[in-house]
Structure formats: C-alpha cells, structure tokens
Symmetry: C2
Subunit: 145 residues, 2 copies
C-alpha cells in the first residue's frame, strides 16, 4: 500500500518535472499561430504547423495548451488508427493529432482554418455512399414486399 | 437477486418491444435522404431533415440507423448543453442531435452536406479569438520578462 503510493508520488514527480522540459519553441509557435489567424481573417489563407517537425518538449506543449485554452468542439475519426481534432479556446485554431492502431502518436498539427479539411466529406466518398444507399434501399424493399 | 434479474429481463423485453414501434416513416425519410444526397452531388444544395417534426418511433430510428450504418467521424460540442455530430456510413449524410444541460433530447436532425455548419468556426468567434490570443501573449511575456 505504502509502496504503491510512493511509486505514484514518484511517477507524479517525474511527470511534473517532465512537464517543465521546454525548448523555448512554444512562444515562437504561438506568434506564428497569431500571424496565421490574422492571415485567415484577412485573406482566408489557412495554415498548418507541424509540431513534429520542430523540437517541442512537454513544457512547450503545456505552454501552448495554457495560452490557447480548451474549446467547445472535439471530434474523433477512426480511419487506419485514430485522429483527434479539437478546436482550441481560440476559435479558428485547431489541434489535430493522429495515432496509429497501437495508440502511438504519428503526428501533431496545429491548423489555423475555419474548418479542418479532415472533417469534410470527400466528394468521391459521397458518390460511393449514394450508390450504396440505393442498393441498401432496394434490399430493404425486397425484404419487406 | 432473482427479482433484480426478473426486472432486468422485463425492462429488456420492453426495450425490445419498443424498438419495434414504427410509424412507417423511416422508408420515406430514407428516400428523402437519397434524393438530398443526389441533389448535393448534382448542385451542391444541402438539406436538413428535422426528425422531431414528423412522427418517428424507436423502430423508425432503428431502421434509419440500420440502413445508414456507422461512419468514421464523431464529434461533440459543448455549448449550452451538448450536441452530437456523427457522419453516418453514407458519407455526406450526418446525424446531429442536441441535448439540454440535463441530457434531455432537444432536437434530432439528419443533415445532407459535405460539412455540417455547426462544425465550422464562425468568423466573429475567430475575430474575438485573435484579440484574446494577443492579450494572452502579452500577459505571458510580461510574466517571463
């Protein structure tokens, strides 16, 4: 019991320590997000910032989350792994994280857009869906008539 | 214990019975969805079908779910209650359900669109967000300098 609790404290302490490891890259990323949101509103230009392409520690992640805050929308997509899409507390600024089938992080993005492309239905999918719906309706009718 | 189990069986039996109550409205709604998806692909016109505006029983709901199937995208919005947004197994066909703060259903919609309006960031919100982000960055800088 006491060992369990000591371990927990140990792990918590490590997590707390880790959460302070920062590269100093959060501040410039936030500046980039600010400029990207200005551009979105001025010209409609959307931006993607790949957090995996720059050194970005847990402390950076923490500062980013603190400044952007939590938003109202959270979405999950299950296609070859899982994608999490969350609007941050700054509308127009989205976090998009992809995980593989084992739950390992594949990529982490900030998107500055009115709407992440990943949430949209692709035209080809809707076309295939229409054909599928017609078949399912025929099947249903042949079962009930 | 046996009473509990009897009750459970009783409740399950009632649920099962209920799930068969249908008004016959699912089939015309599915036909309407098919026509709406055709229109979306042909002209880009989006449609909304209010399931609360027509008699629609649990059996209708079940047939609708069976024919449309489950999709890959599921989103939750928390603004004055909760909204669930799910793409069905027919891409371009979405289910949007709103619940009040007590979890009671407020409305149930089928939307036929490449992208439900509710998922988009509103321009005014992004403008307010930009101003908020600028203030938070100033606050952060004044704390660290």
């Amino acid at each position: 019991m006491s060992t369990n609790s000591d371990n927990l404290h140990g792990r918590e302490a490590v997590d707390l320590l880790k959460s302070h490891i920062s590269t100093g890259n959060a501040r410039p990323v936030l500046q980039e997000i600010h400029a990207a949101l200005e551009a979105l509103l001025a010209t409609g230009t959307t931006s993607t910032i790949d957090l995996g392409a720059i050194p970005f520690g847990p402390g950076d992640e923490r500062l980013l989350d603190e400044v952007l805050g939590k938003g109202e929308l959270s979405a999950t997509l299950d296609v070859l792994g899982t994608s999490h899409v969350e609007e941050t507390g700054i509308p127009g600024v989205w976090r998009i994280d992809h995980f593989d089938q084992n739950g390992e992080t594949l990529s982490r993005f900030v998107e500055v857009t009115f709407l992440p492309e990943i949430l949209k239905t692709q035209r080809a999918d809707a076309e295939a869906g229409l054909a599928r719906l017609a078949i399912r309706l025929e099947e249903h009718d042949s079962r009930t008539h």
